[in-house]
Symmetry: C2
């Protein structure tokens, strides 16, 4: 891929709107642009990283036997009235009347819709379990959208829902999803702490949040240095019955607990029968008794993963993408190649890498060496391959891994092999 | 993949809401379910075919050097006022005030947003051309949603936009997109007729629609049996200055023209400078003169492709999926296998096909042979592999291709090879 054939408007200056590192870097590296308060466009590089992240999520959901669906954003108010959330959801839920005067909701979440989807079609214990997910746009009219795509009014979410016959089956499913979440975040290069959490407006019995410790995080978690117990601040306060401060005693081992700022990237809930009972999603058990289906729901803030990764993977010069989610693992930077016989070499390297399955971007812009090097660091390609008169005199390319201090001269004959090892 | 591990609620009866074959079959085969007037949920099988179609589109867009972006659905009214479409778009555009009282549009299309995205960042003729696309949900408050996902209020669209320096470059790009469209529709198994069309509310100079001839189509095209000239009915009427009826003379060769009902699946436009001039998307040419960027836009009704395929690929028993877009190319149907030594065979065939890259569904339901065979025909898997005592006595499987009358007994040792050929 050539730089000139895509759209990467990098910025030298930090836009005034950017408050935290990820927001600043996503704008500067040309990953996103703001359309209005709380709404962002993804440009080609941002879209590529987003596609990597969603591909990882899809793989792990399929591996956990969860099947993909796609549910509408436009939802009839009637469903929300039946679940009771028409009243309990605040002004962050976008509501309007359609042209026929019907109250319509722009889905902030999909428990009602997916529960209704199974009514009358899942009838017997033999039809259970069912495990479904979607990756879809959610809408929330945030009072104070901020931090770029971390708290925005329109965002991609992966929301999965489980339908089981009893609490035991739910417990098993919940653990399987917990494991899938740990794998997903790990593959994205994220270090998450799973914490006990409140269920809030979702209802239900039990829930865990997956938190990425980061100085800029809007949430606060408490973690025990002794036994490792961790909870959201609110949950810990409720459990302990006290205001949480640094050093408060762990409810499990009584050691002192630490407060940590963090970014929430996932949240899983044991919903129980709240939605199935309200919406009539029932099944007949072996004895022919009708029972409400036991539900769980499992969310990942998909568009929030990119800023969470960047918050924990950057330096002064720019982003340090993990290879798994980099827009391109490698960038090829040709500098002042005066020998006409070598003029086609960057294109040849690009072709060879691409054919070997290494996605790479060839910086074919007519700009200075300094601009190319700075942009490569800013965007944060894991591997930078520099070709110049100097390297070509030694039949070599200069290979530098982002985040490592030293560059290495690699003979052209070994380049593909060396790069493949790390890409 | 096992049938029991996904969610395929097939229906024996035709739902009363279904007016045409594709609508009826998408409901009966468990591809979609209606949530409310004009809004549908995609179930796992529908989602798989949708994923096949979007993968084809993405491959052909990339091959045509078009790069993927993702633009917001929530759009500030201000942009639409500047383009003039705040007034010209009718009540099908969903508008509401957000919690801060700002007029907001739920995007029915994205010319304004994408044009604004380039303002101030594409500055010189050296930054052009740019070619971007997205696959994203559009919202239109249809007065009379009908035909299932053919005319719905929320649908997936692929919308691409080109930005060029002059009419000549646009013409070249337009032709390249025209070719990409022909390839995409062909790969989806669709026979399309490209027709001259009106530009309507989009504005611009020139446009073509890609139409799938189908008895249930809401649109009408005219086609000349002599020279092949084809146009939408409205366009032909304007061009000829007469009301179009069967047998009207072709404007090119004067032969009689035929009227054909058809489904519109794609529409490409030479927009010219309508949006770039209104929104200030300009570039400096070699002489340092500021000029508005010349634009084109290129739409595909992604969710409309499935019903268009089904309208043209079905029989009395159900769907006849082209392999390229089938939810699974193959279904494995085990029937009454009484020999305990053979009990694991269906699973083994499933594993071998999957490992060989043939996506297959194993019908592990405890239902009658009749139900399994009927559902296999209804869903329309291209290849049905039947395993029974009868076939196993001959160390064989019965392989039947959907739409072909005869089944063939294939030795188990040749099964993989035979299936791979057609999958």
């Amino acid at each position: 891929m050539r730089w000139s054939e895509t759209y990467i408007p990098t910025l030298k200056e930090t836009p005034a709107e950017a408050e935290i590192a990820s927001h600043r870097l996503m704008l500067r590296a040309g990953l996103i642009r703001k359309l209005a308060a709380g709404t962002y466009s993804y440009l080609p590089l941002g879209m590529r990283s987003l596609a990597k992240v969603t591909a990882i999520i899809r793989e792990e959901m399929e591996a956990a036997s969860v099947r993909e669906v796609l549910l509408p954003a436009l939802q009839p108010a009637e469903l929300w009235k039946r679940s009771g959330r028409w009243e309990t959801m605040g002004p962050e839920m976008i509501r309007f009347k359609n042209r026929h005067g019907r109250d319509t909701v722009l889905g902030p979440t999909h428990e009602e819709v997916i529960t209704d989807l199974l009514v009358g079609e899942v009838r017997s214990y033999r039809d259970l379990p069912k495990n479904l997910y979607q990756i879809q746009t959610k809408f929330r009219d945030e009072p104070r959208p901020r931090f770029g795509v971390i708290r925005s009014c329109e965002f991609l979410m992966k929301d999965a829902y489980s339908f089981d016959r009893d609490a035991e089956a739910l417990e098993k499913r919940y653990r399987r999803m917990f494991e899938a979440y740990e794998t997903i975040f790990k593959r994205c290069g994220l270090n998450t702490i799973p914490v006990e959490a409140d269920t809030g407006v979702m209802g239900g019995d039990d829930s865990h949040e997956f938190m990425v410790p980061a100085g800029s995080g809007e949430d606060t978690i408490v973690q025990c240095a002794g036994c490792g117990y961790a909870a959201s601040k609110d949950r810990a306060a409720k459990k302990l019955g006290v205001e949480i401060q640094e050093g408060v005693a762990c409810p499990k081992c009584k050691k002192g607990m630490k407060l940590l700022p963090a970014i929430e990237v996932g949240h899983i809930f044991k919903l129980g029968t709240k939605y199935s009972a309200a919406l009539g999603a029932a099944f007949l058990d072996e004895a022919g008794q009708s029972k409400p289906i036991i539900m769980g729901c499992y969310g990942i803030g998909v568009t929030r993963l990119l800023p969470a990764i960047i918050e924990t993977h950057h330096d002064e010069a720019g982003i340090l993408w993990p290879v798994s989610v980099a827009p391109y693992p490698a960038v090829i930077v040709p500098l002042k190649i005066s020998d006409p016989a070598q003029a086609g070499l960057p294109e040849q390297v690009e072709r060879e890498l691409t054919e070997a399955g290494v996605e790479c971007l060839l910086d074919d812009r007519e700009v200075s060496a300094g601009v190319k090097m700075k942009d490569a660091d800013l965007i944060g390609f894991p591997i930078r391959i520099l070709l110049s008169d100097k390297t070509l005199q030694k039949n070599s390319a200069e290979v530098k891994f982002r985040g490592e201090a030293e560059a290495t001269l690699v003979p052209l004959t070994e380049l593909l092999q060396q790069v493949k090892k790390r890409a």
